[in-house]
Each structure stands twice: as C-alpha cells, then as structure tokens.
C-alpha cells in the first residue's frame, strides 16, 4: 500500500516554504502527498480515542482561487506526481469538516492555530501537540525556510518512544539513502545500558548497518551538546511517554530540542507504531 503524507496548505509565502519542505520529504522517501486546502477556518480530526479540533490561523483561507494551482506548481517543482486533494465528505457541523486521519505522515509548521508571527524556536502550538499525542503517524514539523537535509539525526534516550524514533530514523535513512547519526545524553547510565536496550529490541543489525555515528554526550548540559547536531539534519525524536503523567507532558528532552534546534523535526508520538 502506498504511503501518504497529509499536508494542510497555506497559500502564502510561508506556506510555500512549508510545502516545499514537505515535498522534499515526500520525494526523498517516496511518499505520496495528499493536500488539504481549507475552506473553513476550522476542521476536526477524529483519532482512535480522541477528537482534535484545529482552529486555523486566518491566513490559511487567503486567496482560495490560486491555492490549488500554487500547490500543484510546488509539488511539480519537486518532480513529484500530481498530488491528491482532500475533499471532505463528512461534516460534524455545516462549517466543520472532518479530515481523514489514515495517513502515514503529516507535515505542519510549529503552530497552525496561532498567527504565523508566533512561529519560532521554543514554541509548538497546542493543536500540533495534540496531533502528535493522538496520531498513529509521525508529524514532520518544518521551519519557515526551505532547507533540504543531508543526514538523519535520532535523539535516543532509551524509552519506548525513543525506540520507535530510532526505528523510524532507520526507515527514513534506508529509503532516502542518507546517513544517520544517533545522539544520547548520558545521565546516570553508561553507554552499555543504551546498547543493551538496542540489543534487547533486536536493533543491533540496524544500528550497525545504518548508523554512521552514535554520539554519547557524557559531559556538559544537553542544551549545549545539541550544538553538535548538524544544521542540515532531519532530527527524529519521540515525544510524550507512557503513563498518566508522561502522557500529559511533551517530554523534557523534546522541549529542549524544540527550543534549541532550528532543524526540521520528525516527531514520534506515543500512539505511533513503527514499520521497518
């Protein structure tokens, strides 16, 4: 079955950059883009155990007459086939369409409900967080300027979500042919502890095969060590944990990474099920 990426298109210069980045992702791992051009200021996403209402920033409704043509032009510029456009079939209320959620990836900027002036380091909007929390697919959060990446960087802290993030990193590295690096901040555990986790999850072969370098930060603050992550890497990271408290929090590592790294982020939520 073909893999598909959902993109909510904004017909503005910033929307163009986000779509370019999104299409670069599609092209590099062979994903088919599915684009939604909003007709209403809000829509619903019904996940398995949660319903998320996305109240869009007004700029998503700008110039609807050119939106489709602009989107097609950007997709073609990346050498991709014609995208599919979502025409909502179901409506919870007459101005509240339901958008399908059976995708493999979704791409969005750091915030989709707030004004685009809010987009910046250290802020991921509440709706984007809800989607990450509830979706079975990982969410690609891209910057405001199109910048192709040249490597994959996975933040690995040993949790169940980190394992999923690692698996996803391997998959992307395999499909895109880009080198992959893994970063681990050592706390109270030694490197052997993390290697043991990899071994227990039958990922040793993948580690040897795809990972160019596994960097352990054994001293210094994590926020300082993040400088070592290449500026042109796609960073794959897990967010939210399992358990009552962890399910409510985005995660301290995640918060630090999104506050410090300007890189494009591929975030794996707790409901994601990794496919190799």
């Amino acid at each position: 079955m073909e893999t598909r990426l959902l993109h909510i298109f904004r017909n503005t210069p910033i929307g163009r950059e986000v779509l370019l980045q999104s299409m670069y992702f599609c092209k590099s791992i062979g994903v088919h883009p599915v684009i939604y051009i909003p007709e209403f200021i809000k829509f619903l996403m019904y996940f398995e155990k949660d319903v998320v209402q996305i109240d869009l920033d007004d700029s998503y409704l700008i110039a609807p007459e050119t939106a489709s043509a602009h989107a097609v032009e950007i997709v073609r510029s990346q050498g991709l086939p014609e995208p599919n456009f979502i025409e909502p079939k179901n409506f919870t209320a007459s101005t509240l369409p339901d958008i399908p959620v059976n995708f493999d990836f979704m791409c969005c900027p750091r915030t989709i409900s707030d004004l685009s002036s809010k987009i910046g380091l250290g802020y991921i909007g509440p709706r984007v967080r809800r989607i990450v929390h509830s979706a079975k697919f990982p969410v690609l959060i891209v910057g405001t300027i199109y910048k192709p990446w040249k490597s994959i960087g996975v933040m690995f802290g040993g949790s169940a979500n980190a394992i999923n993030a690692f698996r996803l990193g391997v998959r992307i590295s395999r499909l895109s042919g880009l080198p992959m690096n893994v970063y681990t901040q050592l706390g109270k555990h030694s490197p052997d502890y993390y290697k043991d986790i990899i071994q227990k999850n039958d990922l040793t072969w993948d580690m040897e095969q795809y990972v160019r370098n596994w960097e352990f930060f054994d001293s210094g603050e994590f926020s300082v060590n993040l400088y070592k992550v290449p500026h042109d890497a796609l960073v794959v990271i897990g967010a939210y944990g399992h358990g009552v408290i962890k399910e409510m929090l985005f995660g301290s590592t995640m918060e630090k990474v999104q506050s410090i790294l300007p890189n494009n982020l591929l975030i794996v939520g707790p409901k994601y099920q990794a496919a190799m």
């Binding site: 079955m1 073909e2 088919h32 200021i41 809000k42 619903l44 019904y46 155990k49 949660d50 319903v51 209402q53 109240d55 086939p81 014609e82 599919n84 179901n90 409506f91 919870t92 209320a93 007459s94 101005t95 509240l96 339901d98 399908p100 059976n102 358990g243 009552v244 408290i245």
Partner: protein
C-alpha cells in the same frame, strides 16, 4: 512513584479485577458518575435560565424589549463562533452523528458550550428549549469521561447514552423518559448491555435533580375522567398534531435554508431572527422563552383565550421557533414542541366543543397533554419518548390509553410525509445515520484497504501471449492487471474469460501482445471510496471483483467474496456485544 502508579490504576479501571469479571459493572459504575455530572449540568442550565428570566423580566413590558431576544441570540452566536469556535447546530444531530460515525467521540468544549449559549438565547426570550443543549452537554461529558478512562468505542457509546439519559432525567425529573429517549433516539439499540448502565445514569441524574431542587413534577397532576368518546376524539387530535409536526419541521428547515442564503455575519443573522421573535413576543408574550408557564395554565384549564387566538398562538410559536433556531440562536425543539403541542390540543378541544357543544368532553387540560405527546412523537418520531415523558411530567397514568393512540398515530402519519425525524433528516440525507447492526453501519465500519487482495500477478503490455500463458499457469486468479513497465501506471486488465479464444491456439503465442487483448475500459475503485457505493457499482455492472487503483497505480483487487467474509466477521463483532 507510588502516586503515579496509583494514578495509572485509576486511569485504567477496566484492568481492575472487579471489573474484569463483567464489564457491565464498570459501565454501571462510571455511568452513575456520568449521570450525576450530566444531571448537575442540566440543573446549572435550569438555574441559569431562572436567573436570566428574573433579571430581564422587569423589562419585558417596555417598548424596546423586542430587541432583547436579538441581543441574546447575537451574543449566543458570537460565543459559539468566536469564543468557543464550535460551529452552530441543535446539539442532538451532532450527538447522533458522533455515535453513528465515530463511536461517540465528542469534544470537551461541547460539555459546556451549549449550556452557556442556550442560556443566552432562551433567557433573553428566544423561542427554544434547554433540553437539546443539556443532551449535548451530557453526551459530551459521557464521551470525555470515557476518553479519560481509556474505554473502547462500545463502552464510550454507552456512556454517551448515560450522559444523555442523566441530563434528560434531571431537567424533567423524569428518569424513565431519560432512559427511553436515549435508547429510542440516540442509541437505537435495545440491548441489556446499554439499557442497564443508561437506566442507572438516568436514576442518578434524576436523583441529583431531586436533591438540589426537590422532587417536583413539571406540571400539576390533575385527575381526568376519560370516556370512550374522548378516546375516539383523540384520533382526530393525532391527525392534527401530525400535521402541525410536519408544519413545524418544514418551517424550521425553510428558515434554515432562508438564513443560509442571506450573506451577513452569523451573529447579525441571529440578531435579526431574535428581534423578529421579540416583535412577535411583544404582541403574543406566550411564544417567548421555553414557555412552560403557558403549558401549566393550559393543563390546569385556566388558559381562557378562544379558538382563533389559540390557533394564532400555534402559528406564532412555530414562526418564533423557526426564527430563533433557523437564524442562529442556540437551543432545542423539545420545549417548543411541548408548547405547540399543548396549544394544538387546546385548539382541538375548543374546536370539537364548538362542533358538538352538547357532549361533555374531558377537561381541556387533558387534550393539552395529549397534544404535547402528539407533537413530541411526531417531530422526534419516537412514540415511546412522547408517552413516557408526558406521563412522568404530569404524574398520572389516567391518560395512558389515548396517549398511546395519539403518539402512535402521530408518529405513523409523520413518518409517511417525513420519513426521517427532524433530528435525523440531515444525517439520513448525507448517509451519516448508521444504526448498529444495519447494513450501512457494517459497511461503514469496513474500509477498502482492509479488503484489498494483493495476490495478483502484474503483467506488462509488451508481454507476449506465450509468456503470459506460462505466468498464468502459476496463478489461481482469473484477473491479471496490466501496468506500464516504466511509470507503473495501471493500463487495464486481462480477464481469462475474455481471451479464451487466444489461449488455446499456440499460433497466437508469439504474435499477440497483451496490449492488443487487454481490457482498457475497466471500472476501478479508489482506496477512499465508500463500500456501499462500490457494491452498487458491482451490482450495476454485474461484476464480482474490481481493481483498486490509487494515483494511477494498481493496488489490488476487491471482490464480493472477500467483502462478504469480512462483512460477516464485522456483523458477528457487532451482534456479540
């Protein structure tokens, strides 16, 4: 650490040993909690409305009072659209939609938004009822509590029902009506698994109401001595209530459509609608608000106006309700139905008294009650709800025989003219009304991707027939999709039945290419197509299988045999609950 472990245990009650024994115990326990919470929500709205009436009551006689419903409706609309950003609607269709399509998933904001908006609309004089908002609120409370406890779809739907039942039971102090309305209108499935927790929630909702505002029935209980002649006369009342129900349904829809064609901000439309209601209410104050005071007067037999004036009130209340709800105000049609029903009953009583003045008819209050049952049954097409609600809110079973007659006939007649009830009409038209265990529901719960058969051998158009015969021998299928070798674009299908004449003549093996004999006019389906539409296409074309194509590429085949197999499995899952 112990605290977090404790929270985890609370979060997943379905893992407790006590509840593992039978998950109905889990539903009963959480249902009681949901019923109590939704009961409190209903009472909060009730108290809010009383406060609003008391606050604004002093100004009703002033000449500018007609703008009060306009201001209330505009504020209500602004609150829903700009602050809560919910999207307007009655409430009940949204609950039905969520139960039909998404296992009862509802937004948290729905648990309080309609309480505030309907308080503004009705409290300021808009002609609407508080019942649909409390139904939505209760349902959303049930849904969100189910999400909090990580319950599955089936359990979530039961808790949505618990929330609905608790709210209706609390607002009318009518536990049986709460239960019956929920099962008959919202859930649509009479199974013990649903009935038991919903009944418990209904009891808890009513109990909360009784604790906080006393065990009162909505309308004074009077003794009615009903003769057989009265019962026969009720047949005519049933016809009249059915006609009025149809008139109200169409007026509401017409008003919705009319308002949709006016290109003004939604709050301006609500304000215009509200001012029109205020204008009507200035001359006929009985049409304002929920209107229960008028019902009380009619049931007690103290409503002294004549036949023509009561007929005018029926029309005025229908207009006022259409302007309130159709133009953007927030509220439900339950209370207006009761008011219009009682006016209709009274009107009918006055009419037969005028025709046959010599006959000693039963008190007009009895006809007002029967009229209410007729309207509720007709509009909702839920006869049991109509019967039990009237019996409970009036506290007497004396009228049960004519009540059954009026409810049954009114429902049947309305169904002949309007096959779907007011709540369900839009959902039915859009194909979103999916009752459990029905064909549409089973098909909606399956998707094309679940049914795709991928064991097909793909061939290319340049392939010679001889090479194809070798491949064919290894396959158990009659269909072979043809793709472009480079672009992988789906070009057509080879069906063995169509090429049999070539297969048995080796002369063709080296001279015929698949491009020459493939069927290029193949009807295909997409991954996102509805299964019911696919089945219709198969039936129309007398086909047993069709290729699934996405982005011009072959994905697999979908066949009736696989569909039947999965359909049966899904039906077993749904009926085993």
């Amino acid at each position: 650490m112990k605290f977090i472990k404790g929270l985890n245990i609370v979060r997943f009650p379905s893992r407790w040993i006590f509840f593992r024994f039978d998950d109905r115990l889990l539903l009963i326990s959480i249902g009681a909690l949901v019923g109590s919470c939704s009961g409190l929500a209903a009472l909060a709205l009730n108290r809010g409305l009383i406060a609003m009436f008391e606050m604004l009551g002093h100004y009703r006689h002033l000449w500018w009072a007609f703008i009060m419903p306009g201001i209330g409706a505009a504020l209500s609309s602004l609150f829903l659209e700009k602050i809560i950003k919910e999207g307007a609607g009655h409430g009940v269709p949204e609950v039905l939609y969520s139960v039909s399509r998404y296992g009862g998933l509802m937004r948290f904001r729905s648990s309080f938004s309609r309480l505030i908006s309907s308080c503004l609309t009705i409290g300021s004089g808009g002609s609407a009822g508080p019942e649909a908002p409390v139904v939505m609120s209760g349902a959303a409370i049930g849904s969100n509590i189910a999400q909090l406890f990580s319950l599955n779809d089936r359990q979530r739907v039961a808790l949505v029902g618990c929330g609905t039942a608790g709210a209706v039971a609390a607002i009318f102090n009518a536990p049986i009506a709460g239960l019956v309305f929920t099962i008959e209108v919202i859930i649509g499935e009479w199974s013990a698994l649903n009935i038991v927790p919903i009944a418990v929630a209904s009891v808890f909702g009513a109990q909360v109401s009784r604790l906080l505002q006393g065990n009162q029935i909505a309308f004074t209980h009077l003794q009615f001595n009903i003769d057989p002649g009265d019962t026969i006369a009720c047949l005519g009342l049933a016809v009249v209530t059915a006609l009025v129900s149809i008139l109200l349904t169409r007026a509401l829809r017409l008003s919705y459509r009319g308002a949709r064609h006016i290109h003004l901000p939604i709050w301006v439309k609500a304000a215009i609608g509200g001012c029109l209601v205020g204008g009507i209410g200035f001359f006929l104050p009985d049409v304002l608000g929920e209107g229960y005071h008028s019902i009380q007067a009619m049931v007690e037999g103290t409503f002294s106006n004549g036949l023509l004036f009561v007929a005018l009130l029926v029309l005025a209340k229908i207009l006022a309700t259409s302007f309130t709800l159709g133009w953007g105000g927030s509220g439900g049609i339950f209370a207006p139905c009761l008011v219009i029903g009682s006016f209709t009953g009274l009107m009918y009583h006055r009419f037969i008294e005028m025709l046959w003045p010599g006959i000693a008819w039963v008190n007009e209050g009895c006809f007002a009650l029967l009229g209410m049952a007729g309207l509720i049954s007709g509009i909702l097409q839920a006869p049991l709800t109509g019967m039990f609600l009237i019996v409970e809110i009036t506290g007497g079973y004396e009228v049960i025989l004519p009540l059954i007659l009026v409810s049954a006939i009114s429902t049947t007649l309305c169904h002949s003219f309007e096959p779907a009830s007011f709540y369900m009409k839009d959902l039915v038209e859009k194909g979103h009304f999916l009752r459990p265990r029905t064909d549409a529901r089973v098909l909606a719960d399956l998707s094309v991707s679940e049914l795709v058969e991928k064991d097909c051998i793909i061939v290319t158009k340049e392939m010679k027939l001889g090479d194809f015969v070798k491949i064919m021998q290894k396959s158990h299928r009659n269909f072979f999709p043809v793709e472009d070798e480079n672009s992988r674009e789906f070009l057509g299908l080879i069906h063995l039945d169509d090429i049999r004449e070539y297969l048995f003549d080796p002369l063709f093996y080296e001279t015929v290419f698949l491009e020459q004999i493939m069927d290029t006019q193949v009807r295909t389906v997409g991954l996102d197509d509805d299964l019911s539409a696919i089945l219709d296409r198969m039936d129309a074309g007398n086909l047993f299988s069709m290729p699934v194509v996405a982005n011009n590429q072959f994905v697999g085949m979908i066949s009736k045999a696989t569909l039947l197999d999965k359909y049966r499995n899904e039906l077993i899952v749904q009926t085993n609950h």
